[in-house]
Amino acid sequence: MDVEKYIASGILELYIAGILSEEENLEIANYAKEYPEIQKEIEAIEASILALSKKASPGFNYSFKSLMDRINGEVKVIPINEKRSTPLLSYVGWAASLLLAVGLFWMYQQNEDLKSNIQIVEKQNVDLEQQIADTDSSLEQTQELLNTLRDQNISVIALGGQAVSPTSYAKAYWNKENQKVFIDAKGLPEPPDGFVYQVWSLKLSPLTPTSMGLLEDFATDENKVFALNNPNESEAFGITLEPAGGSESPNLEQLYTLGVVATS
């Protein structure tokens, strides 16, 4: 072991700096015990660093007593410091989470509102579609009705108002071929509760009434056109107001309209 050379390598300076590996540190510690020159050199290097670092000192250090006071009091000091910093942080944390919760609740509310709006709109949609369908079928019925009335076999009989209700009127469209009569009752007032209009086929001499049927659901029927069967050789048509369910023979007191079939 060449001690001189070892010292000259500069490794002992690094040893004092504390930047060598553990193996190197251990090796030098052993050499220092073995070779007094190395031990002496180490101390001299350390002394130079001690001198240099001492010059950079702030100059007045805390007394050892104040250091020991802190060491003995440290257990008390640290919790106070921690307590001081914790509340602010936890307040901020709680505030943030509260804000988040409020925000989430608000978004949830908004979402629910939108959902219910969508439901309302959807229901309106369904209603509108239903209306369109109703209108379509009503239009079809009207077309059908119009076609029926335009049939060339139809004879039109105007029924004029009678003593009970002079302003009333009605029309009968009679298709003799298929024995059907359509009564257009738009000119009749709504029957009172418990009463119904009844249509009669009349033979004039002698006067023989035959019931053709009732104008049921008068109030709710939109176009007030009613289809009835008429197998009779009618000479006139009359409409009377009868108690609900109709009568065997007409109550001529309550004859609203009457019309005679033109003979051709």
Binding site: G10, I16, G18, I45, L52, S53, A56, S57, Y62
Partner: protein, 178 residues
Amino acid sequence: MQLDLLVDQFKKKDPTAFEKLYGMYSDNICGVINTIVKNDALAQEICQDVFIKIWNNCESYNSSKGRFFTWILNIARNAAIDEIRSRSYKNDKKNLSADYFVGILQNKEEEESSTVDTKGLRNLVKNLKEKCVQIIELLYFRGYTQKDAAEELDIPIGTVKTRNRSCISQLRDNMAVR
């Protein structure tokens, strides 16, 4: 060796031994910290924290790992470097290299009330070349490895050891002259 005995006592949590070690090294440790934080009051605060840490961890020192001073030097510079990092000081190496411990000299001359022994420090480093100041700062006060110091100074890694040796020799000469 008296120092070894003292350290043994200290490891047994003997306050008297600790007081003696504090008397021996507190100026040096506070000085090392001051070269890093460059703030007297802050350096003293950290310095006290470091000695508390040393006391609380006294069992972990083992003489086979190095000198006692080297052990506390390491604790001190780690604490100081942690401090400036946590205070988000600009810590990139360029800034550091522009401001070595001799910077303390200039600072201290400006504030006359300072208690730093500027005259002594000035005498101690008077013949030291810039590259010596740099390498001593990096290795002793910053704890750079040889590799890191070689990169920082842009010199071959083998040069670090020899240059440092000659710089320390010069420092020792300056001490002897004084």
